[in-house]
């Protein structure tokens, strides 16, 4: 049954994304409770579910089942990566010298694509703050950490950032994201270079104010012992996740055929690896990382609404993408990026990937929003998907709400007595540093 999606069916998705952005600001105490979030999610999802079942019949039911599988796979991976990275702890002291900070961020830029930007942020932010605990200027370090480790780092693999994993779940090959390397290298390289200049300048400025007796303290020479890793067994579980997700993505259809069976195996495998990590990690490591289930439960609750309400929205965009005026890669880069900066970048990625499907398919009915593998293989679709991937991942850094780890890093920094800029203050940093770099990316690649 070929049903054209009515525009009103998109309204719950748009409304829900707006509520996610503004509820914490105006109704913070209400939004703090996961039960209330779930009620809002279900209230907005109910008309969508009703529409799918009534207007699309069996087809709608199958879409819901497919969505449930995607949701479970998505949450299983996020939960496993969250648990594994929460079980690894970097201990010991480092000097807060500019080159040490630079090395930290460079490691984070690579690690982000392996353990995810959330995992890399959890692992590295506290040691970095400890290393700079005696520095007078720390805010810029945290801001660049959010730019690089919490966002731009995650572009190279589906494990790096939730938008790319959503793409992977919808058929984009695991290795497809490797082609984003030039953009990843350019953005991270430029950010690291700018950071090095700013941090070196501020270090010299701080040193000029210090008396010689204060130098050892300033250089971070403390008695915390050398840098070392605790919870190293989690690296094994992490490797397991990488191999498992890569294997399922590359060979799953050949081995298991039926997509539901493949999803079930993927979910069971990732949950098992996460559970192994949790069971084998010493409690004190979780305590040091302040590991709790709170954030992942919150993500799970909020994404119930995202996954359900976006079903008709994605269909709508895939059906009418060619008529909406966004057709060129640069347009996709900036439009997906602009929305990613104020809404969460995961649903934004899927929205624009669906729009790209509509543009490429142009009503032929060959490509669908449910299978982005076709889009990734199409010459024009590939360009558009590169633009959407770069826009969604990079520009999630523009505000604190663009990507999950951004606010987490801000909150942890504030717990360490770092005065972070407010929402608009942070946006000023973004506009001064990120937008010129993104302009260059747009000019070079799109």
């Amino acid at each position: 049954m070929n049903v054209v999606t009515p525009p009103w069916a998109v309204a719950p998705f748009v409304l829900y994304l707006l509520l996610i952005a503004i509820m914490p600001l105006f109704f913070g105490s209400f939004w703090e409770h996961n039960r209330n979030k779930l009620l809002v999610a279900l209230a907005l999802s109910a008309p969508v579910v009703a529409y799918l079942l009534i207007a699309r019949g069996w087809g709608g039911g199958e879409e819901l089942l497919r969505t449930a599988c995607d949701y479970a796979s998505f949450m299983a991976l996020l939960g496993a990566l969250f648990t594994i990275s929460g079980g690894i702890c970097l201990r010991g002291s480092l000097a807060g010298a500019w080159w040490v900070n630079l090395a930290f961020l460079a490691v984070g830029a690579v690690l982000g694509s392996i353990i995810g930007t959330t995992g890399a942020s959890v692992l590295l932010i506290r040691p970095l703050l400890r290393a700079n605990g005696r520095r007078a200027y720390v805010t810029h370090i945290v801001v660049f950490f959010i730019f690089i480790v919490s966002n731009a780092a995650g572009l190279l693999t589906p494990l790096g950032d939730p938008p790319l994993f959503l793409g992977f779940l919808r058929g984009v090959p695991f290795t497809w994201t490797f082609r984003l390397f030039p953009a990843w290298a350019m953005v991270n390289g430029l950010l690291l270079a700018v950071f090095a200049v700013i941090d070196r300048y501020l270090v010299l400025r701080e040193r000029r104010r210090l008396r010689p007796a204060q130098m050892p303290v300033f250089l971070g020479i403390t008695d915390d012992g050398p840098l070392h890793l605790e919870g190293g067994l989690n690296l094994l579980w992490l490797l397991g996740i990488v191999i498992f997700v890569f294997g399922i993505g590359s060979y799953g259809s050949r081995l298991f055929g039926e997509s539901y069976l493949r999803s079930a195996i993927q979910i069971i495998g990732t949950v098992l690896l996460g559970a192994l990590s949790f069971a084998t990690t010493a409690r004190h490591i979780h305590e040091r990382n302040r590991y709790t289930w709170g954030p992942i439960i919150e993500v799970a609750v909020v994404f119930v609404g995202v996954f359900l309400t976006m079903v008709p929205a994605l269909s709508f965009l895939a059906e009418r993408g060619a008529t909406l005026g966004i057709v060129r890669p640069a347009q996709f880069f900036w439009a997906s990026g602009a929305l990613s900066s104020v809404l969460d970048n995961a649903p934004t990625y899927l929205t624009f990937a669906s729009l790209a499907t509509g543009v490429v398919d142009a009503g032929a009915g060959v490509l669908t929003a449910g299978n982005l593998g076709g889009l990734a293989a199409h010459p024009l679709g590939q360009q558009l998907l590169v633009a959407v991937s770069c826009g969604s991942v990079f520009m999630g850094a523009i505000t604190y709400i663009g990507n999950g780890p951004n606010f987490m890093v801000k909150a942890i920094a504030e717990q360490h007595r770092v005065h972070m800029p407010g929402f608009f203050g942070y946006v000023l940093w973004s506009f001064a540093i990120l937008i010129p770099i993104f302009g260059l990316v747009s000019h070079v690649f799109f």
Binding site: I20, A21, I22, P24, L25, F26, F27, G28, S29, W31, E32, R290, T292, G294, P295, I296, I297, E298, V299, V302, F303, V306, D344, T399, Y400, I401, G402, N403, G404, N406, F407, M408, A411, I412, E414, Q415, H419, F423
Partner: protein, 279 residues
């Protein structure tokens, strides 16, 4: 005479100086001293955009900052009470939860004088400085405020400069200063800044007469200077070696303050001696 003095406790160097000065004032006037420590829970818990998954981190961050704010308030009050005991000053510590400006204004309404550090940051958990609270108090307070810079010694100097511009705020500051007893055993000078010598002298004479009515002898000065009012008054206080300056705070409307530089704000930023201010 000063009978009840409030000092705002906070961790900065200027607040430390304010505590020293307030203990000395309470000792010399045999006044009761109240030390106020504020836990700025509303600003710590204020709603903010958090993104998906951020509410848990915000909750955790709020709890950590609140616990830290409570601990600091407890420590400041304990230290304050110990120092008052050592100085044999009647004192009590107050720990309140609320917005700093509102909390201070509520408590200062029953005090003869409120002493604050010039650079006090009552929103230390969430902001790196806090001009907003200081300005709000100076704009809204109906009682006098003594703003103390960090380099102030325990005892205020023997010379006082009254900066008088004829405004209602300046008159109120003059009256409350005269009633406070702070002029006793101090040399009082009244300064007016105006290019019109006759008008300035008349204004200064009025202030001198008002002080004289309270039994305080003061010398008038008319400052004619190419410098701004702020710099001219700062220079005059420096030349006189004044240990205290008295003036009306924010005599003009906030709207006017948007377009013209505020003398109050300028002097608060510039002055290295305590400022006795009243709106």
């Amino acid at each position: 005479m000063l009978k009840n003095i409030l000092v705002c406790l906070e961790g900065s160097s200027s607040s430390e100086a304010a505590t020293r000065v307030s203990i000395e004032l309470a000792r010399s006037f045999e006044a009761t001293l109240a030390g106020l420590a504020i836990i700025d829970e509303p600003d710590i818990r204020a709603g903010t955009v958090t993104g998906i998954g951020g509410a848990s981190y915000k909750h955790e961050r709020d709890e950590v900052l609140l616990a830290d704010a409570h601990k600091k308030a407890d420590d400041w009050i304990a230290l304050f009470e110990r120092r008052c005991r050592e100085a044999d000053v009647s004192a009590r510590g107050l720990e309140v939860v609320g917005r700093p400006a509102d909390s201070i204004l509520a408590h200062m309404s029953v005090q003869d004088l409120t002493v604050m550090g010039k650079d006090a940051n009552f929103r230390f958990e969430t902001e790196s400085d806090d001009v907003r609270t200081r300005d709000a108090i100076l704009h809204r307070a109906s009682r006098p405020v003594l703003l103390v810079p960090e380099e102030t010694p325990s005892k205020l100097g023997t010379k006082v400069l009254v900066a008088y511009d004829g405004s209602g705020a300046a008159r109120r500051a003059l009256e409350s200063f005269a009633a406070s007893g702070l002029a006793l055993a101090r040399e009082v000078h009244v300064a007016t800044v105006d290019d019109n010598g006759t008008a300035a002298r008349e204004m200064a004479d009025r202030a001198v007469s008002m002080l004289l009515a309270s039994g305080i002898v003061a010398r008038p000065h008319n400052i004619v200077s190419v410098l701004s009012n702020v710099e001219a008054l700062y220079e005059a206080a420096h030349k006189l070696d004044a240990g205290l300056m008295v003036m009306g705070a924010f005599a003009h409307s906030r709207l006017r303050g948007l377009f013209r530089a505020s003398v109050t704000r300028g002097l608060v930023e510039r002055s290295a001696i305590p400022l006795y201010l009243q709106h």
